[in-house]
Symmetry: C2
Subunit: 470 residues, 2 copies
């Protein structure tokens, strides 16, 4: 098992003044080298820090992105795309120096093809902005990481969220991309056809490449009709195991549940304190069913019967949007409630995902280890996918505590890999999980990734120092 | 629009006697250089021919594949994996000479993980063999190209079939691979976890790479519980347009139909003649619904109402396996009935796939062109995906007829690309569609594929001369 490699990556390459001058001249007011702007673009929501980029370009078009990349390429200087800044594994950090290309102004919907259930957007649009733009067409886009992340960033990290158990992840829902490559050329991958066997699947190669193979300037996505009926429920359980066994059986029976989230008793306690609620302080499942009215009823009855067999209690149902929002408050607020429960803390998030049959074993052993560690933590999970997150709430100034939390993460990843799982279900590798990736994929597969990277980015300027070192 | 490039590929590289001797010594009775064996391994079900490979190795293990690749690599000689031989675009042809590695003996199920709905198999197992092996576990694997193809070949061509409208293609259903690379090393891609953000998606890069990036020695697949209820129906329509409009509305409404296939009146006529049936010689939809008994009923009622609005008649329903098989006879026999309707002919199959809203436009114009050409043809389609196949039944000795058929294909592909579609929904590029791929993806994207190929296979020994030329 390899240690996280993030301490070895701070090898900032020089950014020549000539490049900064050229960028300033080309971009005018779309360029900034102010420290506050650079600092904002040099961090994400994760727990690692690094010096900021040397400058920021605010791109407003594909041409802007191409010109910024071309200028940087002339000086072999790194470029890092930036939108919502919500990544968790250090993806946005300028660990080898370089220029940040902010695509937040590229946030337009370019075409809604309602008849085909597809939409093409610019990369800076966030998931909430997108859903706002399409809801009056009776459509929605289901992928919902916790943050209001951008479509470009979600594609780059192969993100998912609570609806993935039914609708898949960005892997399944990105149909096509426009990508600016390391030379500043723009290419298109994929089409709007639902399936294709036309050569290498460059779309899927780009999705999850974390900015290391290209910068996305257009993203074509699958949409879904708003379900005719939606029903939500929460249910408390006497133990995490009882909740998880209910989920495993639900999935194994093939119930097309749209969402099934676990939150542990710690999370419920933190949410109760944060949001002045009085939820039962027990492990809880939050569920949502989509379909026709009778289909939703049928699914809900099946799951309620399974839950009852496992001691599930205090079932609460909601079918109006307002009631559903109330029920889901606990899940939506869990992260912030947890972070605020320990002032000044930072959350180290784990992200393992295991085959569903191994979920209980993987979770329960890791809960025991976390309880024994004495570090405050919370646990939430997209358990229908076998994916869950511990958040270890560490004092960032306490080196020993960070080390203990990293050790817990280490033990969890080792366990998940031994069960046929992955070190990261949806957050990506970034800086933080390079060692874990090597353990999971093996040196041969990581070398294949490196060979692809070298072939497509010979100067190593596209977000270098992420996923692997060259 | 570029012409198909298959005429330029016959650049066989020498296969030194020293390599043949080394293979013969290493593999003994698992080696053959007999002309009949070589000839069988040097063709597929498509319409192109080439000289056979220089020898055939019958691999029985990953080690066999690795040793064969290593020996070939020492002499920079091409290797081509072979299993069912059912590809359609010249994928198996030794256009640059080389060795065929037959993996038919690697046809074992390695592990069935019923609780996780996954299975790991060797590449030579066919889809029927796989389904036979898992059916008593209450599971099935839905991907069903017309032929009884192998899992290795289906992964390599990103195959799909009639169930893809509901269950996806090999893109969605291959979870992990073991791959022997150009140097003879074995790597693993992916895990059994349902989702992952762990670095580049090598699994999806390999799926659809047509043997040009590696030879698969293990394939891990998603399985599905056998549906509680299955109902099938056929329905005749006054026109192709009426049938297609029914399908478009079904998909746009989000009905989770499991299969929806079009066969045209020509196909029905050919099937009636071939199988002594008396089906109405009109365009026909064949449908199948999977789910709970009430869910299936609800879906079927919705579609029947849509069909009636479009003049659909002669609805016939079946819910026992025997009745379903009878109803689907026409679809299953269409290809062979068509080929036998013109003795000595070869079928040139088209494979375009378009966004569902453009399906009627794309189809109807192409039907008019095919009717005007005078070439006998049939039309079948996985129309729920926007994918359909014309089969132009040409006399292989009539150069003019082949040219006319290729021109029809050309016009069809041009039309599909202009509508945001793809030249190949499920058959792959092979030798036959290189020009079309360039039109569809653009030179920049194809150059990116070439760069990946050069990086992973510097000697160009893995099935060279397919997808693109180097």
């Amino acid at each position: 098992m390899n240690a996280p490699a993030h301490t070895t990556q701070l090898l900032a390459r020089p950014v020549p003044q000539a490049l900064l001058d050229a960028l300033s001249q080309r971009f005018g007011t779309q360029y900034s080298s102010a420290l506050a702007v650079r600092a904002q673009h040099g961090r994400d929501e994760g727990s690692i820090e690094a010096p900021p980029p040397a400058a920021v370009v605010f791109a407003e078009s594909r041409q802007d992105v191409q010109d910024a990349v071309r200028l940087a390429a002339q000086h072999a200087v790194p470029v890092i795309a930036y939108a919502a800044g919500s990544s968790l594994e250090g993806h946005l950090l300028a660990v080898q120096g370089g220029i940040s290309i902010d695509v937040n102004r590229m946030n337009r919907v370019l075409s809604i093809d309602a008849d085909d259930l597809t939409v093409t957007v610019q990369p800076g649009i966030t998931r909430k902005q997108l859903n706002e733009a399409i809801k009056d067409r009776g459509l929605f886009f289901p992928i919902d990481p916790g943050a209001d992340a951008s479509m470009g960033g979600m594609a780059a990290t192969r993100a998912s969220g609570t609806n993935a158990v039914r609708y898949g992840t960005m892997r399944e829902n990105v149909l096509a991309l426009e990508v600016v490559t390391a030379s500043g050329e723009a290419i298109r991958t994929g089409t709007r056809a639902k399936k294709s066997s036309a050569g290498y699947d460059l779309t899927r190669l780009m999705v999850g490449s974390e900015g290391t193979l290209g910068i996305f300037t257009e993203v074509t996505l699958r949409l879904y009709p708003l379900p005719e009926a939606v029903s939500a429920a929460i249910c408390s359980f006497p133990s995490i195991e009882a909740a998880v066994r209910t989920v495993i059986q639900t999935i194994q029976l093939g119930v097309p549940i749209a969402r099934v989230e676990l939150i542990d008793a710690n999370s419920v306690r933190m949410v109760n304190a944060h949001s002045k609620l009085d939820l039962r302080e027990e492990p809880m499942l939050l569920m949502e069913f989509h379909g026709s009215p009778s289909g939703v009823r049928e699914q809900a009855e099946t799951v309620q019967a399974l839950a009852s067999e496992h001691g599930g209690q205090a079932f609460e149902w909601a079918s109006t949007p307002e009631e559903r929002t109330r029920l889901w408050t606990a899940r939506h607020n869990a992260y912030f409630a947890a972070v605020q429960s320990r002032p000044g803390c930072r959350a180290i998030s784990t992200d393992t995902c295991v085959p569903i049959s191994r979920l209980a074993d993987c979770l329960l052993d890791s809960v025991a280890e976390a309880d024994a560690s004495g570090i405050p933590y919370f646990l939430v999970g997209h358990v229908g996918d076998g994916n869950f997150h511990f958040g270890y709430l560490i004092d960032p100034n306490d080196v020993g505590e960070r080390e203990r939390a990293e050790r817990l993460n280490h033990q969890l990843v080792t366990r998940a890999l031994a069960m046929g799982g992955t070190c990261t279900g949806e957050h990506g590798v970034g800086i933080h999980k390079m060692g874990f990736l090597l353990d999971e994929a093996g040196a041969g597969a990581v070398d294949m990734m490196r060979a692809i990277k070298r072939a497509l980015d010979p100067q190593n300027i596209l977000n270098p120092g992420k996923i692997f070192t060259l």
